[in-house]
Every structure is written in C-alpha cells, then in structure tokens.
Amino acid sequence: MLFLQHFCEMLYQSSFGTMLRESNNAFSVIESVHVLSITLLVGTIAVLDLRMLGLILRSVSVSRLARSVLPLSWSGFAVSVASGFLLFWAEAAKMYVNPSFRAKLVLLVLAGFNALIFHTTIYRRAQEWETLQVCPWRARVTAIASLTVWSGVIIAGRAIAYF
C-alpha cells in the first residue's frame, strides 16, 4: 500500500499533474468528456439490462441487441477510463485517501466481475433463451446487479468531489 501511496504522490507532484490541476479549462473539459463517456457507457448497458428484464424492446433478440449496443459501451468505457486516468493524475494524492474514489474502484471491479460471469455462463447459451420476452431468472439477476453496480459507480463518482 505504501508503494501505491508513493506512486500517487509522484503522479500528483509531476509537472503534468500539476499543470492539469492548476489549469482552468483543461480539467473542466476532461471532466465533461468523462461525464459524457460514462453516459454512453452506462446508458447503453442499461438499455441491454432493461431488455433482459423484459421492460423494453421485447421483440428484439438479446444477442442482436447486445451486438448493436456493446461496441458503444466499450467505446464509452475506453474514453471514460482514459479521461478518468487524466483526472486521477491531477488529483492522485487526494484520490488515494478519498473514500468515495476507493468505493468507485471497488464498484468498477464488481461491474467487471458481473459482466465476466454473465458472458462466460448465461450468455454462452443465449441462443436457447434470447428470443424469450422475459429472460431466465439468472439473466435477470445479472441485469439487476449490473444496473445497481453501475448506478453505484455514478453515485460514488459524483461523491468524490464532496470528500
């Protein structure tokens, strides 16, 4: 942990980190990009989750919707990780001790696990159930878990500024 703390302080004190932190516009612009890319990421995942719960687009098969939506989610993920890393660079020493930031990272790992479990188990046999209007309970459980965890990521992310 000491190593991580030193690493965060090194980033914080680096000239690039200081420049980002003290800039008026760069930080705000990156922050706006971060918010918009999270909208892209979570908004598209939510559409797929709501489909699996049978709330919307019942006539569209799950794998067909997933093929349309997941490239968008991945693009949003790539941009939000890149912009998020820049924001972290500027505030690294503060982020290391920020409880909200830690919660956000834990929630991101949980979201990753949830997606991994879904894709390696239930989704493997998607052709058996994907055209059902309401999906099997295991798919619905991962959908609810996904909606919950991603909401948590947004909530924890917003709370970072308040600590």
Binding site: S28, E31, S32, V35, L36, I38, T39, L40, V42, G43, T44, I45, A46, V47, L50, I56, L57, S59, V60, R64, L65, S68, V69, L72, W150, S151, I154, I155, R158, A159, Y162
Partner: protein, 158 residues
C-alpha cells in the same frame, strides 16, 4: 409575475430552503440527475443510431422509437424534477447564467423537435431503407441533446 419573479419564488420556496440548508441535499439530487442522464443518453442514442441505419437495421423503427420513447419520457421526468430542485438552490445565479439560459433554449428545442419532426422521421424510416431525412433528423437530435448536456455541465463552470 415576471420570469425573474418566478425564479425568486422558487429560491424562497420550502424546496429552495431545504436545498440551501441541507448538507447533502444538493449532492444527492445531483446524483439522481446524473442517473437520469445516463438513461436519457442511452435512449436517445439507440433511437438515433437506428434512424442513421447504424444499428438494429432489421428491426422496426416504430417499435424501437416507441420503446425508447417510454424510457426517454421516464428519464426526462426524473431529470426535470431533480433539475427544478437543483435550480431552487441557486435560482438567482442561474437566472443570469448564460450557460443556464442556453441549456433551457436547447432543451426546449430538443423536446419540440422530438415530438414533431423526429416523429415524422421515425415514420419515414419505417418504410424501407433509410432515406436522407431520417438521417438528418437523427444528427440534429443527437446534436441538440448533446448541446443540452454540454451547456448543463457549463452552468457549474461559467
């Protein structure tokens, strides 16, 4: 009552007082506003990418439009209600904020466009392969909603 009067009335309403004095009120409402944004962004994107012919080409544009419309109206309601609460905290500041005025103008334009020309574009996209008009409508819609978001982000900065 003038528009400025309405803003002042909101700032001095019980809601405004609660938002101004509460420690976590503003933060919590902001989080709700952001959760609504994710759903609204997702629904706008899906329907407009369908109009552009990028995704779900084989599916009925009307069906996608109708389902996404429910999601959009639901999340828009959440955003407007949480937005009113956020506004009540700093109505005086927002009244003079160019970013806030810009956001409201874009929001009005986006909603009017959505219920009129965007609807027509969906009907047109339904019949056969996408022609030019549905594509233009999708791009206008994406730009209007993106503008609402960017102007909204700017309220806290300008």
């Amino acid at each position: 009552m003038s528009l400025h009067g309405w803003f002042m009335a909101l700032a001095h309403s019980p809601l405004g007082h609660a938002m101004q004095t509460s420690r976590w009120g503003f933060a919590v409402v902001e989080m709700v506003h952001l959760l609504g944004l994710a759903l609204l962004g997702g629904s706008v994107l899906i329907v407009d990418l369908r109009l552009l012919g990028v995704i779900l080409k084989g599916e009925s544009a009307i069906t996608i439009g109708r389902d996404m419309s429910r999601l959009l109206m639901g999340s828009l309601t959440v955003m407007v209600l949480s937005g009113i609460a956020l506004l009540s905290e700093e109505a005086g500041k927002c009244y003079y904020s160019p970013a806030f005025r810009c956001k409201m103008a874009l929001l009005a334009a986006a909603i009017i466009f959505y219920f009129t020309l965007h609807r027509q574009a969906l009907l047109r996209a339904q019949s056969g392969k996408p022609t030019l008009w549905p594509r233009i409508a999708a791009i206008v819609s994406l730009l209007l909603w993106l503008g609402v978001g960017v102007a909204g982000r700017a309220i806290g900065l300008l």
